[in-house]
C-alpha cells in the first residue's frame, strides 16, 4: 500500500502536539509548538514546518531545550521588558513574549519586549499574524547562528537574522512581511545542490571568500547578505537588538541548532508592538490601509505579471488553499514523521487527508 503524503492540517497538528506531549512537553506548550509548525506549512514555508519536528525532539532528548522551563520577566519598565526564556522552545518563549508585548502595547501605546535564552522560534509571521488578529502592529526580530560574512569578510559571522512585520488591514489582506536578511534562504542553495544545478552569482561565496556559482562550494562557504552592505547592516542591527541588548548570544555566541550539542542556542528576539489606537482610530487606519493596498494592487503591471501582490498575500492564499486541500509532504518527511509516530505511539495515518469514493475531499 502506498504511503499517504497528503495530510489534514488540524489532524497533522494534533499528531505533532501528541508527539511532543509524549516526549514530556506540557499539553499547552505542545500545542504552541505544533501550531507554529503547522502554520508555517500552511503558508508554504515548508522549511519551518513539521520537517522541524525531528530536530526539536532531538534537542529535548539531549537536554538542549528545557520544555519545563518557565519564561520569566527579568527586568521591567513601563513599556520595555526583558523576558528570560530559560531555554524553553523558541515558539513557547516567543508566544509568552508576544502576549506580554500585546498587553503592554495596549497600556502604553507601544511596547518593546526583548528576549534572551531562547531557541529557534519558527517563523516571524507566526507572531505577526497573531498580533494582526488583535489589531496590533508588530515588528519581530530574531538573531540566528552564523551563516553570512560581514561585507569584506570571507566566512560566516552573522546569521541570516530575520525580520517580520504584521500590519492589519480592513477588507484587504493584512500586510505580513517575513524575510531573512540574506539574498536567498540557505535551503534554496541546498535544493539546487541536490539537483546538481549551479546557482546565480551573488547568492553566496565559497569558503575562500570568492564569488561562486557552485552550489556545493556555496554550502561550504557563506550565504551573502541582501544587497551587500545594506543587508549586512540590517542583519547586524538585528543581532545587536536581539542579542547584544537582551543579553542573549550574538555573532558566534548564538549556537547552531543542528551542530552544537554542548550548550543551548541562546537565541535572542525582539517584539515591538504598536497599538494603532494611540495614533488614530483603528477603523480609520484600516480604511487607509485598504486604500493603500487597493491602489498598489491597481498599478500597471510589467509584461507577464498577472497580479501585484503585497507582502504575505501569496502565503495567506496558500494557507486557505492548504486548509481546504490538505498539506502535501515530501515522502522523506512522511517517513521521518512516521518513525517518530511509531517511537512515541502516535498514529500518523490518522492525519491522512481522506478523499471519498468520488475522489472528493472529506471535510
Amino acid at each position: 500500500m502506498a504511503i499517504a503524503t497528503r495530510y489534514h492540517w488540524e489532524k497533522l497538528e494534533s499528531f505533532c502536539s501528541s508527539v511532543f506531549e509524549k516526549a514530556g512537553v506540557s499539553k499547552e506548550n505542545s500545542r504552541i509548538v505544533a501550531n507554529s509548525l503547522i502554520e508555517a506549512d500552511l503558508r508554504g514555508v515548508d522549511s519551518h514546518g513539521v520537517v522541524r519536528t525531528a530536530i526539536y525532539l532531538e534537542r529535548i532528548e539531549k537536554g538542549m531545550i528545557d520544555p519545563d522551563a518557565k519564561p520569566v520577566i527579568s527586568n521591567e519598565s513601563d513599556a520595555a521588558l526583558l523576558v528570560d526564556g530559560h531555554n524553553n522552545f523558541g515558539s513557547v518563549v516567543g508566544t509568552n513574549a508576544l502576549t506580554i508585548a500585546l498587553e503592554k502595547a495596549r497600556e502604553n501605546g507601544v511596547a518593546l519586549v526583548g528576549v534572551k535564552h531562547s531557541n529557534h522560534f519558527g517563523t516571524g509571521a507566526y507572531y505577526a499574524k497573531k498580533a494582526i488578529d488583535q489589531d496590533i502592529i508588530l515588528l519581530v526580530l530574531s538573531n540566528a547562528s552564523q551563516t553570512m560574512p560581514p561585507t569584506g569578510g570571507v566566512r560566516p559571522f552573522i546569521g541570516t537574522n530575520p525580520l517580520a512585520v504584521g500590519i492589519p488591514a480592513g477588507e484587504n489582506p493584512p500586510f505580513i512581511l517575513d524575510m531573512a536578511t540574506s539574498v536567498v534562504a540557505r535551503g534554496k542553495i541546498i535544493v539546487e545542490a541536490q539537483k546538481g544545478n549551479s546557482i546565480p552569482l551573488g547568492w553566496a561565496i565559497d569558503k575562500e571568500g570568492n564569488p561562486t556559482t557552485d552550489a556545493n562550494a556555496a554550502l561550504e562557504g557563506s550565504v551573502l547578505p541582501l544587497g551587500g552592505p545594506k543587508g549586512y547592516g540590517i542583519s547586524m542591527f538585528i543581532d545587536i537588538l536581539a542579542g547584544v541588548l537582551t543579553g542573549a548570544g550574538f555573532g558566534k555566541y548564538v549556537n547552531n541548532m543542528y551542530s552544537n550539542w554542548e550548550e543551548p542556542q541562546n537565541v535572542g528576539h525582539i517584539f515591538l508592538a504598536i497599538d494603532v489606537n494611540a495614533f488614530m482610530p483603528i477603523e480609520l487606519f484600516k480604511q487607509r490601509m485598504d486604500q493603500y493596498i487597493t491602489e498598489i494592487k491597481a498599478e500597471p503591471k510589467a509584461t507577464g505579471v498577472e497580479e501585484i501582490f503585497i507582502p504575505g498575500e501569496i502565503e495567506s492564499r496558500r494557507a486557505e488553499e492548504r486548509k481546504e486541500n490538505g498539506i502535501e509532504l515530501p515522502l522523506k518527511v512522511v517517513e521521518e514523521l512516521n518513525s517518530i509516530g511509531m517511537r512515541y505511539g502516535v498514529d500518523l495515518a490518522a492525519a491522512t487527508y481522506e478523499l471519498n469514493s468520488l475522489g472528493e475531499v472529506q471535510k
Copy 2:
C-alpha cells in the same frame, strides 16, 4: 581670481544659518536646518548637504514650507506620541520629535513618536547621531515621494523610503546605519548619465518597466528596490508606519519636493527610541558592543579588502577628516551658494577654508 571651493565646516554652517535667518527663519530653526545640512556634508553624504540650501529656500519663498509653524503633539499616550509638524522644515520637525522621543524613552524604556505634516528631513543619521550622544538607541524611518515600483509594477509607487539606526558603543565607533531602500541612490544614476556611462542591470527599469542599462532611460523610469520583493516589502512597511499610521501622505500622496508647487509635501516620519538601561546597565551594553565590533573587525578579510567596517564607520572617519581639512564643494554648488549669499547679503567667501603662506591649514 579663482573661486574657492574648500570651506570651513563651522563657517559654512554659519553662512547657511545666516541665509535662512535672512529668509525669515528664526535663529533657532535656522541653526537646526544649517546644522543638519553640514552634518551630511561632513559625513560625505553630499547629496543631502548644503546643495539643498537652494531648494529649501525656494520652498519657503513659494509658501511650501512654513518656517514659523510650531510642531504640536496632537495625540499622546505614555510611550506613543503623534507630532503634527504643521509643515515646518523636516529637520526642525524631526529635531522636535527626536527630543520628545528621547525624553519619553527615558521615562518608559521605549518611545515611539510618529510625525505627520513634515517635509524632507535630511539624513536619518543626523538624528541617530544625536541619540547616540545621549546613550539612546534610535530607529528612524521616513517616507518619501514616489521613485520605486512595487514588485511586478512598471512605474514609481513607493519612495526609496530610508531607514536609519543609531546604537552607541564604548571605545569603538558607534553603529550608524543610514540607507535608502533602493538598490542605489537615484543620485548615482544621475552621475552616470552625466558621464555618459551605462549602469549595471538591476539598478533600474525604463518607463515601460523593462530592465535597462541606459542611465537616461533609467532616470525616466524607476529605481528598483533593494533585493527585489524584500526591499519592496521594507519600503512599504516604512510607508505604512511613517505615512498611513501617522496621518501623513503615503504612496502618491507624498508630494515631490522638486516638482510639486501646489501643496506641501506631507512627509511622515517615525522615531523609535530605546533606553538601553531598561535592559542592562549602559556600561555593560557598551562593553558588549565593543566586543561585538572588535570581533567583527578582526574577521579574516577577502582578497583586496584592507579593513572590515561597521555601518557608519567610514562616514564617521570622513567627518573627522573634513572637520580637519575642510569641505570641498563642487564648483556648481559654490556658484549657487554664492548667488544665494549675494541675494541675502551674506558673504560666502568668509567661510573659505584658509591656508597659510606655507599651504598649511588655518584652524
